[in-house]
Symmetry: C2
Subunit: 172 residues, 2 copies
């Protein structure tokens, strides 16, 4: 068994604890209340390494507590995003995806427009660009969104369609 697993588990544990603290403080500050549902959702959410859609998260949550409704998951994710625990991953296919940012280096995604698979990559220059442009135009920048679209090797090998008539999906 590789040592790495242990570190990962510890990281994940620590991240969960930190997340709980952040959420608790956020709720307290706004006079909001704690709930078991939100706890369950946070637990599962923080356990995911990859980004996932509301629907996917809902599926996992439902397995653990079938009484939890779709709406609650939506509201929880929004709440997590508000207190900085979750950030939205934007693939422009009309589906909201979230990932947690604790113990994760800033990264971006490259998405295959045929199979939908995504890979993560690192490009530190991007942060510098955000800073630079913000400075140049007197913006207080908050975040950026960057993703690359293309076709992965597997899809190119598989498919013989070289001239897709329906190049990409429309929707922001």
């Amino acid at each position: 068994m590789p040592e790495r697993r242990v570190d990962d588990q510890e990281d994940s544990r620590a991240a969960l604890e930190e997340a709980k603290l952040i959420l608790r403080e956020y709720l307290a500050r706004l006079g909001l209340k704690h709930s078991t549902q939100r706890d369950t959702i946070l637990n599962i959410f923080m356990g995911m390494r990859e980004h996932l859609s509301t629907e996917e998260l809902y599926g996992l949550v439902k397995k653990q507590d079938p009484a939890i409704g779709y709406t609650t998951v939506y509201r929880a994710l929004k709440l997590f995003a508000q207190c900085g625990l979750a950030s939205e991953v934007e693939f422009h296919d009309g589906v909201a995806r979230y990932e947690h940012g604790l113990n994760r280096r800033t990264h971006h995604h490259m998405v295959c427009t045929q199979c939908g698979e995504s890979i993560e990559f690192f490009a530190p220059e991007i942060d510098e660009i955000e800073q630079r442009i913000g400075r140049d135009f007197h913006f207080a920048t908050i975040r950026h969104s960057f993703q690359i679209y293309g076709t992965c090797e597997a899809c190119r090998t598989k498919s013989t369609v070289r001239y897709p008539l329906k190049p990409r999906q429309t929707r922001t």
Copy 2:
């Protein structure tokens, strides 16, 4: 009257002609048909310097020919996107925006999350990153999407809210 205006007008004219040609050829290649509505929409679309939403374009189109329907504008924009005349501008607020790329350097947008205004900026490194990451992971890249979010100077001066409870809009 500044000389520049003349150049701009000529550019715009030339771009329109080129666009018409591209569209005509695209239609011919796919066995599709020409229509007056599409012509009207293309004219107006190519006349815009800035990106605009379907709704905004629809408004302008309607002024010129009130008989044209919403659906037709949607379909036209999709068509323009397919033949490369239009590209989608993604602000992640649930509204599709398009801009034409003829005679325009590749650029990106920085958006004020308070007033919604956007400014264009140039960052040539981004294209290089797209190339590099694509190469590294064996993707045939097609395009990328990059935007910066923050607050503009005017909004920061105006508003005294330093801790927005509703940081950003959810929707991909």
